[in-house]
Symmetry: C5
Subunit: 271 residues, 5 copies
């Protein structure tokens, strides 16, 4: 963790990362609820929203779309990922070199580590190479710290999530993305364990506006420094509204009730 290394993908020390690696990790099934979401352009457009501090995508998507958005979007190069056709112990192919990410103009790198997998040691060493190369290119480092695999019975257990967050600090991540461990207290403890490494919660699968915003607000109150979100934004019919609301909750210390006014019901009223 290098102070200020993540400046290009944070705002006031917090982060709202729009994650769009579902095409590799889950495949087209994630786009079915809203077929337009298969189009990366739609998500790049969303990423120009002021609330979004970085957009996480894979190499091929970045090659095709990022050049047109370089002025308006901060690029978080998600280096590794694997299709869910994979049947082995949790693992993730490194699909993108740091050097090429830098060449394309990435502001930071993202990297998944499956602690507890039989591939943990190999993945940690791949992370080492990526993290140190990122330093050479003055890029921040975000770890998707997801304990998973043989021996992990519950991957959102508070103790496991606290360990996951601490691994982010120990191994050199500036930001650690962890699963939500079920309570503001638990993610707060994870944040305390990560020290200066910022902890952001994963958005998870789509929920309703209030439930989602309350979870995020609680996490921020508890000590989390933001959110990394995909489906809970891009699968919505009015994704910009939820971004408005998230911006209020994460960066402007708004209450959930205030933030909810920025979503559809009140939006209609304001028109």
């Amino acid at each position: 963790m290098l102070p200020d290394a993540d400046a290009a993908i944070t705002r006031d020390g917090k982060a709202l990362i729009l994650a769009y690696d579902h095409g590799i990790e889950h495949g087209p099934v994630d786009f079915e609820p809203n077929p337009e979401t298969a189009d990366p352009e739609r998500v790049f457009d969303l990423a120009t929203h002021d609330a979004v501090t970085a957009l996480a995508v894979g190499k091929g998507v970045a090659e095709a779309y990022y050049p047109s958005y370089a002025d308006d979007v901060s690029l978080l190069a998600k280096l590794n990922g694997t299709s869910n056709l994979w049947m082995g112990e949790p693992d993730s192919a490194v699909n993108w070199s740091v050097e090429y990410a830098a060449e394309l103009g990435a502001d930071a790198i993202g990297f998944t580590l499956y602690g507890g997998s039989n591939n943990e040691v190999e993945m940690a060493e791949e992370f080492r190479d990526a993290q140190e190369a990122a330093r050479d290119h003055d890029m921040g480092v975000v770890m998707w710290s997801y304990p998973r695999g043989q021996g992990l019975k519950n991957d959102t257990d508070p103790g496991t999530i606290a360990y996951a967050a601490r691994l982010g600090l120990e191994l050199g991540a500036d930001i650690a993305k962890v699963k939500y461990p079920g309570s503001p207290e638990a993610i707060g403890e994870a944040a305390r364990m990560a020290g200066p490494t910022k902890v952001v919660m994963s958005g998870g699968s789509k929920t309703d506006d209030r439930a989602f915003l309350e979870t995020v607000a609680g996490a921020i109150d508890g000590g989390a420094k933001g959110l990394a979100v995909g489906r809970n934004v891009f699968q919505r019919e009015n994704p910009k509204e939820i971004l408005d609301a998230l911006e209020a909750v994460i960066f402007e210390e708004a209450s959930v009730d205030e933030a909810l006014k920025l979503t559809s019901a009140s939006a209609v009223a304001n028109d």
Copy 2:
């Protein structure tokens, strides 16, 4: 996917790739229906047909024949491949470095990825190296995206093919070659998932002229950007005629009936 990176192996945004890697993948048995087809020179001659936008061959064949055809054929260097003597989980040896392919004058590289194989992670990382090296040499990238191996029950299932096509986009291919998923709608959906990455259908084993052309025409109408074909062309007695017909269907928006006039029956009449 880098816009225009595949310009040297496409025409009007579409591709007709003549594939001739059967000598390594299947061995001499594929040449038995027409023994002359074992001779690469015959296939290089076919590749000079205007309809063909690229010829995909392995290193040894390219070394021996490509220098004589460099002015008339676009070379798609098929980097990996393995004999069917191999009994392990699907895998493919990288038989050709990108650097040497560039030295021989290749216009693009071709690379097989067996998503779902226990070797998927390793193959994806080999693809990464090849894809990025291709960028250094301004070469386009074609992925043979073929989910296969442990856990794959049906490798032409529409959902699987759509995922295969999307992997092409996500991992940085300019063109994704996929198996035909059984209907124009299904390959159209795959094409939509691949976004700017062009989807081309595999020709598969030899069928009769009308059936073959109707499948291709349907795929093009559905959204596919072309065809990668081997046996369905080179095993025919009059392979140039089927190329004439394919050219009409793929590049000239001809109907199947119009295209069929370019094949033997009518050809005889026209002589």
Copy 3:
């Protein structure tokens, strides 16, 4: 073992290494007895104590805190380590390159070798690379020589510890950190086997002041050249006092009774 290579992390030929890699090796559970100990800053402060000849931490912690302590703390870069979520044969990921450790200003490297593990050969070769790179950067080398894994029934058996210490010498460590083998004679024999490589005992889990100091004093008398300690210092309420006492025992030839006067009871009296 290169004479004087460890000068930056020893004092009068002896070492008191404060080890703080628990966040990766054991996770937050090690901070529970004293929640403040999760904060690396607290441990860096402790490491400014005159008694401490080096502080062993991982890359991420060093990135965040070492720059502020570079004048007052000698940095021992603990290069490898793995979470205890790992269920495989003992292994340790190399999380930090020697080059980057040198860039951050490290004075020496630390490296775990699990002799007897099915990963011993691979770990020894990783140690080779690290040890030789350390020589290029004029850094000392400390081996955590911990026989462990298939076939090891008792990892504190005197014969095993003597072998562990000798491996330190043979493979090129300047200091070998070994588990305490149960008696001053046994650690003395380990020290004799290590020859010019200094043997330091591991502090192990927390014990009371007298028991701890007597073990350390006995080890020093037996021939050990110091101590590498974590929980037995940082989990205490008054860690500076135990450092005062350890300094007396290790560097000043004080008796345990004299040293104990520097801890709480007498400290209170001195106030």
Copy 4:
């Protein structure tokens, strides 16, 4: 396959390779029928015979003897090989780098590929590196194309040998050395499948003069471009005579009867 790349180890487009890698592949047992044959000098002397277009040996033998024969012998550096103490799936260690072979003055490289072995993919990738390095040094490439291992029931089946020969072409060998598939027709078919890659038959274990020469003559008539032979030459009492006869059959279109006149019976008469 690069036209003319094998010029230094062929004569009139044909090859007679004297192979002497038995010391590694089989061990001293192959020298027992004629103990003098253990002495490499004896075989280097044989290799000065006009009939021999190249001598295939391993690195250690080349280091010791080739400098004295560099003017009279063409060196085929056999890069890989493994003792028959090996009990695993067929594999072959790469014992010699192309760079060092070039430094010692080698004219070409030889490389074994066990198609069908569980090590096929790895061996093919090692072959790639060697083949491309050979091109950098203007050396020809000979593949010992020997399908073997799990799943191969009959390694001299005509179809298998034809596939083996084709793999030579596809992967970039200038010459493919294959087992004799039992008939002139079968080796002719293999030669046709290899196209411009020259197919040479393996000499196999020692047989009598007439049987051996008839097999070779038939293979040449069938389309093979020569022979790679070891025991069938060096185990004979008068190995130069059989080389005279082979030269007649391979390079001078002599009949077997004519060639046989050059061996012992008539040789005695001519003295």
Copy 5:
């Protein structure tokens, strides 16, 4: 095998290698018969004896002691070795790079190959790298050629030892160290199979003076070019006497009876 490459570690074409890698291979148990033998300095002193043509030690020991003996001892850098805590198939970690050995002033390298182990192929490729790097630094190469592992029933069988010696020649060793195969004839046959590669016998475990000297003298008569010895020298009370005797037998063609006069009984008489 490169003529004269071993000149720095031989004398009149013969070698007496003092081997002291027991600390890694067997551990402290080998020093128990004579506890002083744990001290490398004692062995370096022995190595200054005229009889000793090279001292084989590991990296750590060389770092610590060789600089003081560089004028009087020829250093044979034993590159690989593994503790006997290892429970897997025979393998040996490469603990020392050739480059660093050269930097420390080594005259030659030593490398163990376990032919027949499931790790044979990997070890042979590591040997290749080491052997070729040694050539770059003008260092001789000694192979500890020890068939071992799955499938080896008797690792001192004459045929196995002859094969082991031949592998030394084939793979590029200047000297092959083999187990004593039980008779002067058998080691002579091994020497004949190794051709110009010198065969030296391993000293094995400690035996009495006459038995040991008779075995060595027989081996030399049979064709061996010397001895690599550890325990049979350094475990003795008067190791210099046995070196006197070995010098007589190996380099001065003395009889065993003459040589025995140089050991204790007569030494006492001569005082």
